[in-house]
Assembly symmetry: C2
Homo-oligomer: 218 residues x 2
């Protein structure tokens, strides 16, 4: 039975799962969710994701939500095909991948989400971006990128000298962030910039980012 991803190709959390599928070379059906009509806040969608967010996922009888949990499921189930995203064959390596995945969740995600909201979503709906929020969150993000800059002076990717889920998780937000005037937070840091150029030019990233068109509506 074909893997089903319920979501939208232009949405960051859906894109995270699609990146994983592309790195593994897996076929899937993208089932569109009409977010504008509130389909994600009603049954039957709520039975797939009780929090009413996209994406949701089905692989036969396995039904999951939360993009990062779905991504890990795919990487674990298909560990022997495509890119080895979790390094599960070596506990020490996989634990360092996990560490930098947690850094994404607890340091990178919140400021980046608020910045994308202000810089891309607000203009789309005709709201004025809040300059104070932008300034505060850019400062937080800059401090996170300072740590990345230092780590990327030691290893080629965040978790080591191998591309992993820790890098992949950051692509969707960064893809949109790099379209904004604040991309200087990345371009000012040479190792973070080189890392971004590397991971954004992977075939899987190029394939998935073709569907990421949110900024084109601006």
């Amino acid at each position: 039975m074909m893997i089903k991803v319920h979501g939208m190709a232009l949405a960051t959390c859906t894109a995270r799962v699609l990146l994983c599928l592309a790195e593994k070379g897996l076929d899937y059906e993208l089932v569109p969710v009409d977010v504008a009509a509130g389909e994600h806040k009603q049954q039957p969608y709520l039975s797939l994701n009780p929090f009413g967010q996209i994406p949701a996922f089905e692989d036969g009888n396995v039904k999951l939500f939360e993009s990062r949990a779905i991504s890990k499921y795919l990487a674990n189930k298909h560990k022997d095909i495509g890119t080895d995203l979790l390094r599960s064959g070596c506990l020490e390596e996989s634990s360092i991948v996990e560490t930098w995945m947690e850094v994404e969740a607890h340091h990178f995600n919140a400021p980046m989400r608020k910045l994308i909201h202000q810089l891309i979503l607000n203009p789309l709906v005709g709201s004025v971006p809040d300059e104070k929020i932008i300034e505060t969150e850019l400062e937080k993000l800059g401090k996170v990128f300072d740590v990345y800059e230092q780590k990327l002076s030691v290893t080629k990717y965040l978790a080591g000298d191998f591309y992993s889920m820790a890098d992949l998780y950051r692509i969707p937000y960064l893809f949109y962030f790099m379209k904004t005037p604040k991309a200087i937070v990345v371009t000012d840091r040479p190792r973070v910039l080189a890392w971004w150029i590397d991971i954004s030019s992977r075939p899987a990233t190029i394939e998935v980012s073709e569907g990421m068109t949110l900024h084109k509506f601006l």
Copy 2:
């Protein structure tokens, strides 16, 4: 070589790791970090955790930070002793555990952190709690607990009929939250309350919570 946890027993992220160690029955050395003196923001501590937060972790040559990554390392390395926290023997079960771990990171953690900050940390340093923040975050937390209440009507614990890391991750914040007047968000929901009574009375939880004394300074 003895496992070393650098942190403070009363701090929530340190407690998360200690809960994991207690569920596994592992010996460890808790190396105190003098947070009041800013030890975590200086070398040599920064070489253990570049974000300058507690805890940090050493197990021989393995050095990790981020409490959830450390917890997973311990659960994976010692999967055959003590409580089976990740269900790694079954991909479907382990993926559901991962899903509810992601729910902790992306739905539960932010409002709970802000509430603990307002209700416990602010009074400790003589600041007045911000009632508007409390109201906003309590409303968010209530909606998260509505989903838990529904899930706990189907399974005994969050990820299934077994105690797992998905439950454990929530204990440190909930332990302090239950000491506040806002505990009604839990006690008003019968299945969430029964779940809390269950997980808070586990021997490992009782052992670790003896060191969680932040509220006693109020």
